[in-house]
Amino acid sequence: MRIVAEHLSYTYNPRSPFAVRALDDVCLTVEEGEFFGIIGHTGSGKSTFVQHLNGLIRTPASLKRRKRKQASPVQTLTVGEFDLTDKKTDFRALRKSVGMVFQYPEYQLFAETVKEDVAFGYKNFADKKPTDAEIGLAVNEALSIVGLDPNEVAGKSPFDLSGGQKRRVAIAGVIVSKPEILILDEPAAGLDPLGKREIMELLHRIHGAWCKTVVIVSHDMDEIAENCTRAAVFAEGRVKYCLPPRELFKMTDELLALGLDIPLTAKICLALKKRGIEIDCDFTTEDFIAKTLALKGGVK
């Protein structure tokens, strides 16, 4: 499933003194199979955009028609077969295909046991009432892929787990219905460095085996550089750039001008460039180290 947004705009509290234009003519395509990153400041429109993708925020068709009269470009938003600007779209089916993990998802755990919590989404999205055996199997599978031992945690209260474990349970509760696209809003925020690394490894496991496409919103440029195939930079409700990290993080001046950070590897490359040494890497730690060590070989 591809995500295609064209000329997408959205205003909160329209026609009121509190009107805020959160999205302004956003055009963006996410291909199937990508590990896609979304970057931008708080208030840049990232979350508003992401919430459109499973229909939590809708651009009403009436607005679409009125826009057409004003001769402005038609807004469209499609996710695979689903036309999200169409009221008649089956949003339940859409939400089954597009899983959404919010920021700090562990605050949304609610059930008495981990098993019930994870099963909730599965039961909701099942086409016919699943048997207990089916539920158990799906829950165990989901817990295993997020790196938890079902035998150990399934019967426990989710509130007795550590912060990192809670977050995994919350992610398991979303991927249990096997969405094709998984969207996560700052999946690693607030965790300690090792916890962050574990969550990113987990997302790569899910990306290969469960969900074809993964979209993450992140403030951590290192995270984007290490993991993403492409990243979109949001600023003032618009997509300023949408490039692979290799090209994106060469635009140091532009990113700094937007008040954004750059990955550590890009900082070192920049400092090397000032000293007359150019390293052409994709800004992952691995590639940076390989290319830097190759410099030494070349001189010898």
Binding site: A189, G190, L191, P193, L194, L264, L272, T285, I289, K296
Partner: protein, 273 residues
């Protein structure tokens, strides 16, 4: 003078739960201490013990020469303010100035004095112009600054920040760090900053690493971050730059274990030319 002194402090969350045994820890007046440690290492327990939210099972906790006990708890709490992680959980009123006044009102501060303190606290965190704003409409960083102002209005001598920047974006984080630095340098408030971010810990006078309820490393922050092997034993990730320089050395490039990208580039340039 010691701002906070833990002597042989014991604490446990009950049978089989997390426990602290004979913990000794001091913070000097005016000092800026960073506390590091993986999740569950006891950092927050330390913060909660220091202002009496949790009660020690044994040993003594002394705050500015006053040993903490049931009778002086409220007096001591006025001196030690704590700011927590989630900005949304720490605001009580809907208007900024009411929220800042809340703590001071609760301890019976006279009305005129509260007015002055709101002014002082809001200007210390750079939020004067938001005095009459609605709390719910502020950004995370702004809300967290209001939370800090609410603590400041109590005129504490020590401020403990328990991962107060963890939920903020980079801009919000910078706002908080700037405020904390100026409180420490200008207002001479003693600061204990619990954090996972290396950049923040590097600003402190001293860093302390906790593991399983014990203090396992102490020293100048830059020094601590260079002790790679030890950090790994305590389940702390190496700073990314440390990891890169280490692997370059393993690959045969003689670079130093600096924490500054520019210096690392300088070293690499020297090695390859």
């Amino acid at each position: 003078m010691h701002a906070i002194e833990f002597r042989d402090v014991d604490f446990s969350y009950g049978e089989g739960g997390f426990r602290i045994n004979k913990l000794n820890f001091t913070v000097e007046e005016g000092e800026f201490v960073a506390v590091l440690g993986h999740n569950g290492s006891g950092k927050s327990t330390l913060a909660r013990l220091a202002n009496g939210i949790l009660e020690a099972d044994g040993g003594t906790i002394t705050v500015f020469d006053t040993p903490l006990n049931d009778k002086n708890l409220y007096e001591v709490r006025k001196q030690v303010g704590v700011v927590f992680q989630n900005p949304d959980n720490q605001t009580v009123a809907s208007i900024v100035e009411d929220d800042v006044a809340f703590g001071a009102e609760n301890v019976g501060t006279p009305r005129e004095e509260i007015g002055r303190r709101i002014g002082f606290a809001l200007s210390a965190v750079g939020m004067e112009e938001y005095r009459h704003a609605t709390v719910a409409r502020l950004s995370g960083g702004q809300k967290q600054r209001v939370a800090i102002a609410g603590v400041l209005a109590l005129k504490p001598r020590v401020m403990i920040l328990d991962e107060s920047t963890a939920m903020l974006d980079p801009r919000g984080r910078r706002e908080i760090v700037d405020v904390v630095l100026s409180l420490n340098k200008k207002e001479k408030i003693t600061v204990v900053l619990i954090t996972h971010f290396m950049e923040e810990a590097l600003l402190a006078d001293r860093a302390v690493v906790m593991n399983r309820g014990e203090i396992v490393m102490q020293g100048a922050p830059a020094e601590i971050f260079r002790r790679h092997e030890e950090l790994l034993t305590y389940n702390l990730a190496l700073p990314r730059i440390g990891e890169i320089s280490k692997r370059l050395r393993e690959g045969g490039l003689d670079v130093s274990d600096t924490l500054d990208p520019d210096t690392l580039a300088e070293d690499i340039a020297k090695c390859v030319s």
